[in-house]
Every structure is written in structure tokens, then in C-alpha cells.
Assembly symmetry: C2
Homo-oligomer: 428 residues x 2
């Protein structure tokens, strides 16, 4: 991977403010369509612009990176590119960092090419970047598992016996994963009201968000051949923000014994830009100490957490500006991504290009760092006070949840943009 020092000096001829999420050091991948029309294409973000990679490819500018001109980027998903593996990802990243540098004239001084390839972000619509195969959601924040466990089983039985031994996870629903900006309809379903003797059908009353991060599998593993924990990084393409919307009342009634189902699968929102492992390399840090020591197949150098600051904002129809609900950090995760991937495949389970693995709710140690309404308002016991006098224990129709995050470098930020979703009233 590239040296931090060298990268931090790089500047682009495209203007990039210091607080921008998209400097030359980031170069995340996404899929966009021009609002004026045309096909979906693969792009990267630089400052306030999207760089259309299909235009560069057409010009043969990725030949040095080993790509021909067969339209890897003239597609509505990243899957084909992701399937090509780390050497290609690195070569394309190096090419892009070169082409966008302030001292390289190829693109900078070619007005016609620039006009075709650089599109202002305001002129594009971002689409779901990946054709997602399987979606797995982990439960890897000790603080979150402890909070939820304390609420439902008391402090002494908060963590299940398996929790400290393995990264607990479950299969989620791929079909209902949507890109940031997609409205989310309040789900209906079966609820068992407190004190009732039989369930009722109706709109969820306890609608919540969950702040998570996720990663896409770039190259998978064949059925029957586990990914050793040391080799896990080779399979990880990049990261995004995830809002794992949750209907707590539906979930509570349905989830014993087979786990969450309709309480989760009505929608999961992700941010549109996929930030590569390469871009995050300078922000790889030690995670929490693991005690008991994990079994051998889960042992890896403790430097696979990421120092990524995360925030959640709430916008209500009445609030004048978004109100920050919490602030936390991805580095709090107890189980890291390498352990998640090694555990997921230890039984021979295969993964494929485009599989999504989410972290589970990211909660930190303090009450203002909890990653869900359930925890922030402590199951409704401590409603959140909003600046205009409103309160919230769960989400109301018309509320928008905005999650954002970035890693802070010296003079630059590796940002994730945001994932936003607004609650629509339940349907008929």
C-alpha cells in the first residue's frame, strides 16, 4: 500500500477544500447517472465533482493499469471491477491519483476531455453501487450488545455466553438494500402490545435506525475453502455507511428463536460511495483488547480497527437544522473485519463479489455515542430532547436520519459522504 506521508502531500488540480470528504487521497467508487440523462456509469469522487471512469477508459487511459477498453466502467455496478482483484484495484487507484494530480497535464489541460469526464456532483444522481449477492449483518460492538442485553435481560446476563468467543452474525435481506436518499416506508406487521393476550396488525410504533458500517467482498472464496484470517484483507474491497432500519416492536414479537426477519428487512440504506481499503490504510488502528483470547482461527495482529468518526443527525419537519443525535467511532468495534470474514467462512461457506457484510450497530462507551434510538432514549425511558422542544424516543413520520463519517488525516479527510433516509407514513 502507498506510504501515508507521500499521499498526504498530494494535491489535485480539481479544487478540494480541507473539510471535503473527497480529496485525492480518497477516490471512492460509485455508480451515477447524469440528471440530464444517459446510462449508469462508474465514477470516482474528487472535491465537488464526479469523474466518469468510463470516459477515461474509452480514451485508453487505464491501459497502464492493465485494463483494455471493454467497458469495465461503462456499467451500472462495480461488480466486474471488484471481481478483478487487488492488483487491478491498486493499479487503477494509482492511475487515478496520477491523472488528477495538479502537476499532470493529461486531464488538466485537455478541456474537451475534462468537460466530458468531470461532472459536478449537483448534476448527478447516485445509484446503488453494487449488485449485492448475500448480505450479512454482524453484531460486533460490545457496547451495543451489552446495552441491548441489559435492557432485555438485566446487567448480569447482558452478553450471551457465545458473544466474547465469536463474531455473532445473521443473514439479512439483499433485495431491500437501497441507496441513500431513498425514502423508507414505515412497515406494518404483527405486534404484541404490552399486556395484550394476542397480537395485532398495524404500523410499527417503535421505528429505529442503527448506525453501522459495512464492507463489500471484492473477490470471494470457493465453497468448502475457508478464508484464513490473515488473508481476509485481500478479499475486502471497500467500506460504506449503513443504516440498518429496525422496527423494534415487530422484531421483539418475531425474533425468538430464529432471529430478526420482518423487523429488519423492510429497508437497509447504504451510502453511495465505496471507500477503498487502500484509502483507509493510514487510519488502521488497534481495536479493543480481546479477552478471552480468540480461538486460533480468529487470531490476527490487533490493528484492524479503523479510526473513523461517525455521527448521526435527525431532521424533523419542524427542526430548522439537523440535530446531532450521537457521535461515535468505528474503532470501538470489538470484532474486526478480518475476524468477521474468517468466521463467516470457517465452515466452508463461500462468499462472492458484491457480498455485503455490515458491522452491527456501532455504540461507544458513553451515552452520547450510542448508535440507535433504542439505546439513546434507553427504550423510551429517557426521551431525546430536541432544540425546538420536541422529544423523540423513536422515529416519527417525516423524520430524516442522516449518518456521516470520515477519517481525519493531516490536512485532508477520507470521507464517506452520507446516508440519508426519510420516513414515509405506513401504506394502506
Amino acid at each position: 500500500m502507498s506510504a501515508d506521508f507521500q499521499e498526504s502531500m498530494l494535491r489535485s488540480f480539481v479544487p478540494v477544500e480541507p473539510e471535503s470528504h473527497f480529496p485525492l487521497q480518497n477516490l471512492p467508487y460509485g455508480v451515477f447517472r447524469r440528471r440530464s440523462g444517459g446510462e449508469a456509469r462508474v465514477g470516482t469522487a474528487i472535491g465537488d465533482y464526479v469523474l466518469d471512469l468510463s470516459v477515461l477508459e474509452e480514451q485508453g487511459l487505464f491501459q497502464a493499469a492493465g485494463l483494455g477498453q471493454d467497458g469495465i466502467f461503462a456499467r451500472p455496478s462495480l461488480n466486474r471491477f471488484m471481481s478483478m482483484g487487488r492488483p487491478v484495484w491498486q493499479a487503477v487507484r494509482a492511475t487515478l491519483q496520477h491523472l488528477l494530480r495538479e502537476d499532470v497535464p493529461t486531464l488538466r489541460d485537455n478541456a474537451s476531455l475534462r468537460r466530458r469526464a468531470l461532472v459536478p456532483m449537483s448534476e448527478v444522481e447516485m445509484l446503488l453501487p453494487v449488485e449485492i449477492g448475500d448480505y450479512t449483518d454482524f453484531y460486533s460492538s460490545r457496547e451495543h450488545a451489552t446495552n441491548v442485553g441489559t435492557m432485555f435481560r438485566g446487567k448480569d446476563n447482558a452478553l450471551q455466553p457465545n458473544w466474547l468467543w465469536l463474531p455473532v452474525g445473521y443473514h439479512g435481506r439483499s433485495s431491500s438494500i437501497v441507496v441513500s436518499g431513498t425514502p423508507v416506508r414505515r412497515p406494518r406487521g404483527q405486534l404484541m402490545p404490552p399486556g395484550a393476550t394476542q397480537p395485532v396488525y398495524g404500523p410499527s410504533r417503535l421505528l429505529d435506525f442503527e448506525l453501522e458500517m459495512g464492507f463489500f467482498v471484492g473477490t470471494g472464496n470457493p465453497l468448502g475453502e475457508p478464508i484464513p484470517v490473515q488473508e481476509a484483507p485481500e478479499h475486502i474491497f471497500g467500506f460504506m455507511l449503513v443504516n440498518d432500519w429496525s422496527a423494534r416492536d415487530i422484531q421483539k414479537w418475531e425474533y425468538v428463536p430464529l432471529g430478526p426477519f420482518l423487523g429488519k428487512n423492510f429497508a437497509t440504506s447504504i451510502s453511495p460511495w465505496v471507500v477503498t481499503l487502500e484509502a483507509l490504510e493510514p487510519f488502521r488502528v488497534p481495536g479493543p483488547e480481546q479477552d478471552p483470547e480468540p480461538l486460533a482461527y480468529l487470531r490476527i495482529e490487533n490493528r484492524w480497527a479503523f479510526d473513523i468518526q461517525l455521527e448521526v443527525y435527525l431532521k424533523t419537519p419542524r427542526l430548522e437544522e439537523p440535530f446531532r443525535l450521537c457521535r461515535t467511532n468505528f474503532r470501538y468495534m470489538y470484532w474486526n473485519v478480518c475476524q468477521q470474514l474468517a468466521h463467516h467462512t470457517v465452515n466452508g461457506c463461500n462468499t462472492r463479489t458484491g457480498d455485503l457484510m455490515a458491522s452491527g450497530t456501532i455504540s461507544g462507551p458513553t451515552p452520547d455515542s450510542y448508535g440507535s434510538m433504542l439505546e439513546l432514549a434507553w427504550r423510551g425511558e429517557k426521551p431525546i430532547q430536541l432544540p425546538d422542544g420536541e422529544t423523540r424516543s423513536f422515529l416519527q413520520d417525516g423524520d430524516s436520519v442522516i449518518m456521516t463519517g470520515y477519517a481525519q488525516g493531516e490536512g485532508y479527510r477520507i470521507g464517506f459522504g452520507e446516508v440519508e433516509g426519510t420516513i414515509l407514513p405506513a401504506g394502506n
Copy 2:
């Protein structure tokens, strides 16, 4: 749908024995490749032959069914065809029943076309028929849920409070769904041995099968728009046999609180032929009475069970012929397929062409009708006696499990062929 009486009289010019699973009344869809080489194609089964639908399509023989010649069947999956909806499915079925009739000369008397289109089953390899999007596994047999609940929580608490109110289900793993004949490697994972104070890593010792049936979603529903229970049949393309392989020891240690994960996702086997709802129409029968009465969104005429006889056989390296482990019937399912689909989407969850929904283990009322080793050998307390003196409580390396099933008509059978899998020793 076609009248039972009329269909039962139909005969093909292709010889079909009365016990054959594939008479003119069946016409299931599958994807095959000639062992001599060539591309994967969509076919139907008739007697001991596979009829290559891409050859018929090329000849324009589906024009009456509204299909052009753009290669709907010259593909390695049924997805495109499935996405076209019931009117097309019915028209293609009608065309096939016509072309294969003993009194229709088009195919019968065209030796060159017959040679190209009809391939002996022994000369083809069957492939996974569908590109599967999401895979959901239900838990809809009351007998199975009661048996498992009794073993783990005692007779009085066998069924969870939600079980009689909704079809409990969870998300499974799509990537590891394999077609019949694919060997299954014994999974490794974390186990908590009885009496131990910490888990160990090793091969599963309690490897099991689960006899299930599944259906493919033909046409899905948009996000946010539930499928009303009455409209569910329009979305169901066809059925297959499912072996939901289960590692009971891995499952037991991992599954609280988020449900089964590595105990299941190392492999799920399905039979290669998809039997259509049209073919099964004459075998649609009342299911078990439902008490309490389901909530309104789950109410439908009680005639959505299917009279399909199911059997599981065990072959061991020592046994001279496969031994029948159990015999049951799909009609025992408490929750029916329409209720499953309506429940799955009641919260707005979308489904897509190619989604697989499995029934959960199908157990009947008597001990010889249980659909898993766990139940048949009652958690190892009553090992199964095999004719050669061997016993089994769970599966051993080299064991093969064969599931088969059919609906018995007057003088014909609507069969599913079989789903077979052999256990390979755990890897390193």
C-alpha cells in the same frame, strides 16, 4: 388452470412409464448441459428425456405462446422466463403439452428436430436452475417445531408464543445453495462440548439433513408494496425438494440471539427440476386447521396444502441399497405458501424473480414421518438401526442422503426426481 380430468388423459409420443416422475402432465423446468459439451440450456423433462427448449425456440415453435426467437431458453438460468409472468408460463406449458402429444406430428415425425431437441437424461448434467437472489427458510411444520421445542425446552413450552400466529422464518444464505449431486463437505466451526467451559474448534459431530420443499418466486413485488395473501399464487413459479443441511452442534452454540448462521450456511441442496404450480394444481388440498384463526392479512381459503409424498433414504458405504429413513407428506405443513409470501412482504419487503422460499423441515405426526435425524433418532437417544447392523444418530463421512417425492395422480405421477448429497470428510 387446466382441468384435471382432461390433463390426466394426455399421452406423449415419448415413452413414459406409470411410475415415471416426468409424464406429459408434469413438464418441470431445469437447466442442463450435454455431457458431450456445449452451453447450458433450459429444458423440460419427459420420461427419460430432456427436451431442449432452446432448440424449439430457435425453430419459432413458441411464437404461438408469444415468445420471439431471442433466446429465452438459450441461457444458464430460468430467471428471464420466470420474470415473464403466469400468462407466458401457461402459454409455454400449453405449447409443450401440445408438441409432445402422441397425436401431434410436429416434433414426433421430424427425426432431425427430435434428434437435436430430445436428449437422453443419461447424457446430460443438471445444473442449478435459477440464479437465486434471496433465500428465506420458514419453520412451518408444527410437528417439527414441537419436536425440536420439546427436546430443548420440554413438552409444555415446546412452541414459542408467536408460532401459531405467524409463519416464523429467517434469512438463509444464497451463495451456498447447490444442485443435487454436489458433495457436501463436513463443516468445521466452534462447538461447546457438553460440560466444557470454553468452546473448541473442530469438525461438526452432529451433522444432519432437513427434508424441506421450496418454491421460487416468479414475479416479485416492489419495495413498500406487500403481496396480499389472495394474490400470492400469481407470484409462485414452481417447487423443488430442499435439503437444508444442518450442523446441530455449531447451530446450538451460535444461534442465540440472532438465529442460525454457520450451522446452516455451509450448504443447501436443491433438486434440479422445478415443478410448476400448474402441474401441482390437481394436488392442492386442505391443510391442517388453523386455530387460533390467523390475523386478516393471513386469511385464505384452506386449500393451499399439496398432497406430495416425500421420502428420505440413507446410503452408507456399507449398505447394499439405500435405506428409507422416513416417509412424510408436504400436506402436513401448518402454514401454507400463500401465507408465507403474504407474511414475508406485509412489512413492504420486496421479492424478486429467483428468490427461494423453503418450507422448513417437514415432519408428520408419527415417528417414522420426521424430517430430520435429530428427530428420527431423538437427539441421539434412539439411534436408527440400519439393516446391516450399523446405527446412526447423525451423518457420517461417506453417507449419502437422497430425498424424493411425487404427487400421485390417476395413472401418472407428478414427480420431483431427487436431491442427493454425499458427506465428504472435513477439510484441513
